[in-house]
Structures are given as structure tokens and as C-alpha cells.
Amino acid sequence: MTEPSGKRILVIDDANLVRRFYRDALEHAGFQVDEALNGVEALEKVLGAAYDLIVVDVNMPQMDGFTFLETLRRQAPPVSSLPALVISTEAAAHDAAAARAAGANFYLVKPVGQELLVEHVSIMCGLPT
């Protein structure tokens, strides 16, 4: 286990195994991790606690990732400027463009390995890799 980074990450994905996989990797790398199952639950969390980064899926029930990001970007600062890493199964160029249009700061295509996840989260949190 690495030293605590002091950074808090919200992982948003409806798939239990994906959340577990990301949590294992991020906690092992010293991040504090919270989870949400969809955009509705995630909005409640980001409005109630301070996060350094969100890792968000696209296809989720109740509120998809893009709708969540669009809603997030309409909130008041600092919530509106929370960095977002979108990780989706959608691999086409227009999917990445749609993610950026919705407010994503970076886009990865699933499946994402733990090293790649930690590397991107660290960079986006301004930590050395």
C-alpha cells in the first residue's frame, strides 16, 4: 500500500465488479475512494462532499454519465469544475467527442487495467507518477 495521497476520488459505475476493481487499484495507490451506482447518486455525493476527481461510466441506469456531467457542469463552483475521467465501452471517435462535449476532461475505453487507471488518476490529480 502506498502512502495516502490525500486525494478523494468518486467512482461512478453501475457494475459492481468495475467499482471493486477500480477501488482496489486506487486504494492500493493511496487514494480515498467513494462509489456511486449512477448519475443521480453521484450528484448527491458531489454536492455533499469534496472530491478531487470523478471517474465515471457512460451507460448507467437512471442517469447516464453524459447527463450527469452536463448537470455537474451547471452547478456552482467548485463542484462545476471537478475534473472528470470518463471510462466507457464506447470506442468510436464520436463517443470521445460526445464525452468532451458533455464535460469530460479525459476519456478512456474499457477495459482499463489498474496501472493505466492509477496513472491517469494520478496525473489528473497533479501527483507524480
Partner: protein
Amino acid sequence: MPLVRRPSLPSESPAAPAGSITEGTSEQRWAAARAAAAQPDGVALLAKALSQERDPLVLEAIFTGLAAAATAESAAAVVPFIRSEEARLRAGALDALRAMPEASRPHIGSLLADPDADVRLLSCELVRGLPEAEANRLLIDLLDGETDKNVVAAAVEVLAEIGRPEALPVLVLCSQRFVGEPFLAFSIKVATDRIGDP
């Protein structure tokens, strides 16, 4: 904002002329969509509106109305939107189909065999609503020849919750087919551990 609210008959909905579901302001279309679910030709009206509507709140009312109808016709109207390029429409379609499991049931087999991997992936979620034995059979058949990593991951996610021992051989095959994929190795181990030690 959930795209599909719990289906309920819109007895409190304002009456609206049938034609207005595709005309007028978003508020008028929303009210018409709410009212349409209670009309004899409501499903046809909602289905027509679904192909034109882009306002999120009106879409929510349309999907909710179609899910409340829960007929073969309403499920058939929703199914094509699983392959939409818009995430909002995909999510709404999936939520609506989940909310009407019996009406969706006849479509699941063909959705799982769809040439589009994204459709197969999303359809794995619909299997969750089936009886366990049927769900296992469908997912085993899918995994037996599936080549897309993310579809396999979606199927394994469901099997990790409802999988039966008969799914273990195909999970072993998948672990051999996708050597070098850390997430799949992790998922398959979780699923096989859970099935082996329920």
C-alpha cells in the same frame, strides 16, 4: 433525474389532445405524453413521439408511459433505442425495458445475438430480470462464442450475482480466451468464487 419513473397510471395527468404530443412547447408535450398513456391508442402515440422527441423531461414521460403500458407493442417501440448513439436514449430505453420484464422477454434472445457488441453488452442487464435458470442458459450461450471483452465483462457481472454451477465451464473458457486482460481475470475469479461458494 431518472429517465423512467415508476410506472403508474396518470390519473392525475391533465387531459391533452392526442396530437399535441409532438407539437407545442416542451411543457405541452410533456403533459400530452403523460396523458397519452391512459388513452386507447396511447402506445402508438408515445412510440411515434419517441422517434422525434429530444427534450429530456418529455423523453422521460414517454419512456415512463411506454413502460407503464408494458405491452408487446410498447416493448417493440422501445427496443430500437438501445442502439441509439445518444447515451440518454440508450439509458432511457434500457430502464424502460427493465421496468417491463415480461414484455421485454421475447426480445432478449435476439438482442443478445445482435451483431452490434454495444447492443449485446447492454442487453446483458435485461437478463437479470429473467428466472435464474433461463438467465444462466442465455449468458452461457452468449459467453460460449463471445469475442468482445466488454460484452464478456457485462455477462460475467450478471453471473457474479445469479450464476449457477453450470456456468463454471464457460467462465473457465473465457478466462483462457482472454488471457492478459486483468479486469476480466478479476471479474471471472469473483464470479467463479461466488458460484463455487454461494
